[in-house]
Symmetry: C2
Subunit: 325 residues, 2 copies
DNA sequence: CCGGTTTAGTAAATCGGTTTATCTAACTGC
DNA sequence: GCAGTTAGATAAACCGATTTACTAAACCGG
């Protein structure tokens, strides 16, 4: 693993390091044809491969961007990440994907480490709990885009879906179908998506003249979820429809329902807020609220790229509409 | 974005760069208590954050490893990647995930670029078509592990599943259930997994005294797949069971089947070779061959880590058993 | 043939750290 | 009181590129 450096190439070709550098950067303006050839040959015979680290140090660009997802097992996150990667591929920028596991400590650690590694920008699915850190990045004019969730700080480019509105419509759809007892299952209300979806649920009920029954709102971690569903379905008045606030809730629901012998469509109408792979193969009675993950990823990537290129506009929140299927 | 450097800290604390460096690397052996404190303060007031790039350049370690997956939309790949990330997290190594899209050219580009970025090692789902490149990495003693697919070169650590055996068993299961006309759908036979699975299929049939009917082997790209399925199901003797060689084939099959009104379980028994998220929510009549993705990822990561630490053993191929569900 | 321009190439500084060899002052013991 | 340690800190080289300022030779018109 005796690495070949530019100096070696220069020696082999009988020119200076500077000239080799010019060659590699295709600044041929004042370069003799024979010199060019000599360098080419030297590179070939030595099997030289440039060291991007050294270059990055000098140029203060790494051509690396960081993606910090809240939960990598969430299909939506992978779809967004993929779109981001695709976008940056055309500019020869690579993405590093890190998984914060919805843990603010982990998130902090990753942000700091990616910045220490000098990545050119960051796309974050924020936990929302590191406001001081977010603030400092904005203040330093460091390229950042938030995806999926809003945070308090308004001076950051943000790409989200219309959580409240699409939940509202889904609940409206339940009501139109005649449902009176509609439940809502959600993980702890720590991030904006969950809060917004719950808001849409409540608003839809209220607007339809139905009362919001707190017993029908199941809030808890995935670990607690089954127990709470148990409670929900042992109420005197059982729900006939249920809104699952994301895919992980849905999985738990699926297990629960299988155990209890409850049938989707017949006993219980369900809408899931999330993109699910293979959803076309699932029972047709289920509905899904699909977020335009690819477009959102693309938009986030564009916004980040603009910042990296210093073509900053005013920070803005971009809201994408979801579709119910 | 006026970055604070070590020199600034040194000036602020009234010591030399070297001392600051010692401090940061926790080499306190000969360091006065007051010096330590002064540096600590200086770092605090300036908000200094070290530049890992510079450190990596000198130390020739980036604490970055690369993962090149053949297809990032493949659920199995993301599971493996996640396990790899988890493993390396404990050693403060980050993973860069790149998507080669089963394109040897792209794969080559990524390998070269990741090496240029000086990543400490590579875990690859190989296309199998860049043998010269693989060879050169091995020869240079560069840490590499192959996952999911074998390549010709035997001197590389490789982690795979028992493709042939588990397919064999699945087909045997079909036969025991009484099926005589068993079809096999697969993407082009360009990588070892597909070839090995087909081999298992053929062997199971032959061993059971059934003949291998070439009409029942559907081989083609995802784009062609539907047309070929059409042909398959317009044969005089139609298959009553089908083996889908991976999840992408299965998706296409699902679409096809829905259009035709064929029913899983009743008209057609199906086994899918692959881990599918939410498979527990799909029709119970389907069977899946599940690869132990997490363990495989972990093993691959361990093997890479050993190489990075220069604790090399003899390269070996590790075969994990799959389970049918 | 001479001053100015163009062409081709280079020396040296730089990026921000790590590391090695060295230095000084205080401390030992005899 | 002096050689030998040792604790504490530093100067300078180094990692492998980029980039700026500079030089030397060729060229060119009047």
């Amino acid at each position: 693993m005796e690495r070949v450096t530019m100096a070696d190439v220069a020696r082999e070709a009988g020119v200076s390091k500077s000239t080799v550098s010019q060659y590699l950067n295709k600044r041929y303006e004042y370069m003799g044809e024979k010199t060019k050839q000599k360098i080419e040959e030297a590179i070939e015979t030595l099997g030289y491969q440039p060291n991007f680290l050294a270059r990055s140090l000098k140029q203060k660009r790494t051509s690396l961007i960081g993606i910090i997802v809240a939960n990598i097992t969430h299909y939506f996150s992978t779809e967004v990440s993929r779109a981001i990667e695709d976008f940056f591929h055309q500019y020869d920028l690579q993405a590093i994907v890190c998984n914060a596991d919805d843990d603010p400590e982990k998130e902090k650690k990753y942000i700091e480490m990616l910045r220490a590694k000098q990545v050119d920008g960051l796309i974050i699915f924020p936990t929302g709990k590191n406001n001081a850190l977010y603030e400092s990045m904005v203040k330093q004019n460091y390229p950042v885009v938030f995806v999926d969730r809003k945070v308090e700080n308004r001076d950051v480019y943000t790409v989200i879906t219309d959580n409240t509105e699409s939940t509202y419509k889904a609940i409206q759809y339940f009501i139109k179908k005649g449902h009176q007892n509609i439940a809502f299952a959600v993980q702890p209300l720590t991030v904006s998506t969950r809060i917004d979806r719950l808001e849409g649920y409540k608003k839809a009920l209220t607007d339809a003249g139905l009362e919001v029954n707190p017993d029908f709102i199941v809030e808890g971690s995935i670990a607690e979820m089954k127990g709470k569903l148990e409670q929900l379905f042992s109420l005197d008045v059982k729900p006939t429809a249920l809104f699952a606030a994301n895919d992980r809730v849905f999985i738990t629901l699926g297990e629960f329902i299988k155990e209890k012998g409850i049938k989707f469509g017949e006993d219980l109408d369900v809408v899931v807020f999330d993109n699910i792979p293979f959803s076309q193969m699932l029972e047709t009675s289920l509905s899904f609220i699909i977020q335009p993950a690819a477009e959102m990823g693309r938009k986030a990537a564009e916004l980040l790229y603009q910042q990296i290129q210093k073509e900053n506009q005013e920070p803005e929140v971009f809201v994408f509409p979801s579709k119910m299927m």
